[in-house]
Symmetry: C2
Subunit: 216 residues, 2 copies
DNA sequence: CCCAGTCTGGACTTGCTGGTCCATTTTTTG
DNA sequence: CAAAAAATGGACCAGCAAGTCCAGACTGGG
């Protein structure tokens, strides 16, 4: 991947990717040209093709990877330790805040649409991101189970999948409408479903409601 | 909008839109040219610009409208009368089936990405679609409330928003991964949440579980 | 200091695609 | 039937953006 022989080379390559990511966020993939990226990053055509021999598609793929990495990073450290209701709430806030700030640009989505299903690379990036994301959500739910805040009977994987879908859809809708209502609704309802599942099965403590609102 | 003076004209226009929709589904927006559409629909360049004076963007917008209309139509008649658990289940099946058949192409999403936030028209189409969709879901939930299957205390609008987000996200993820697990999870969890909400508030019958699986 | 490999600059080519234009045919209408 | 309006065919144009190429400038090791 980043087999740049020289430190300078590696730096330039990184500069290109970061700059390209910026431009793509601002203008959208469809209308961004190599010249836009070139001028933004202060590089020449030959450099672009030096570091990305396969041209634009390869560059876009690199940017996609870059963006995909950011997604989970931006949710840390909260996403990493969802073991209390408070932690879930904090994570929720971070997600909402992150995407509201991002506004109506969906770097990864757009990138994926552009590079398209044709490229196995793009698909792999997104698939991997989703898997990791869902895994961390599921992990958090299991932590709740371990703490007795959620009944062990809960189908963690399915619930995590649903929550992830809700987030994705919320972001999608926000991109279209500029309104984050759906994202919030998805997150809140998802977490609420977790809480309610305790009442539903009725097997566990029955005190999750209070315990959740309170301490770690 | 469709102010074509002649019947023949209207037919041609419709043929163009439908053909374009097909091509766009097959190849994706990014790589589809006017010539592709031209050859598919058996029309000439002048016709394209005769019926869509503003060129490609106007044509894409028309296709977006066309696709948006299909979305809700394809869910009928189920989406229209979600007044029993059985109806909800049938609707769920139709949605899953529809999107699984559609596979990894998301006409509207792609179209929207292409025409982009720049165009107020595109945004309006998507926004309107979402509103209608959510409205029908909310309407269905209220019907459940009226039948005493769901407590009146339920925040219908927020729950509908969350469910819609889940669907959108499920479709998005399916597009990327080719797997409909998330879509199913979102739908099932969403409906389950509706059911569980009865137990949660504990105010109503308490028999929804059985009643749901059963009649009507 | 020199040489090999790396990095950089930027002019140039090339293919394609959206869009224009006008001539011709078909349809409508009075 | 004739004239006007609509519909159609397809050649043509212009611009743009991806990709090529080669010359020249660094850099680091011997």
């Amino acid at each position: 991947m980043s087999d740049a022989p020289t430190a300078k080379g590696r730096a330039t390559r990184a500069r290109i990717v970061e700059g390209a990511a910026q431009v793509l966020r601002e203008q959208g993939v469809a209308v961004t040209t190599l010249d836009d990226i070139r001028s933004r990053t202060g590089t020449s055509k030959s450099q672009l093709f030096h570091y990305f021999p396969d041209g634009k598609s390869e560059l876009l793929l690199a940017v996609a990877r870059f963006e995909a990495d950011r997604v989970l990073e931006d949710q840390q450290p909260y996403l990493g330790c969802l073991d209390s209701w408070q932690a879930w709430r904090q994570w929720r806030d971070v997600v909402v805040e992150r995407y509201e700030r991002q506004g109506d640009s969906c770097p990864l989505g757009a990138l994926f649409l552009q590079v398209g299903r044709s490229s196995p690379g793009a698909r792999a990036i997104v698939t991997e991101l989703m898997r990791q994301w869902q895994r961390q959500l599921a992990h958090g739910m299991r932590a709740l189970q371990a703490n007795g805040l959620v009944p062990a009977a809960l189908d963690v994987d399915r619930t995590a999948a649903a929550l992830l879908a809700g987030i994705q859809g919320g972001v999608t809708i926000m991109m279209s409408t500029g309104d984050s209502t759906h994202l919030r609704a998805a997150l809140d309802t998802g977490i609420e479903h977790l809480r309610a599942s305790g009442a539903e099965s009725g097997a566990t403590t029955g005190a999750e409601g209070k315990a959740g609102a309170g301490p770690t």
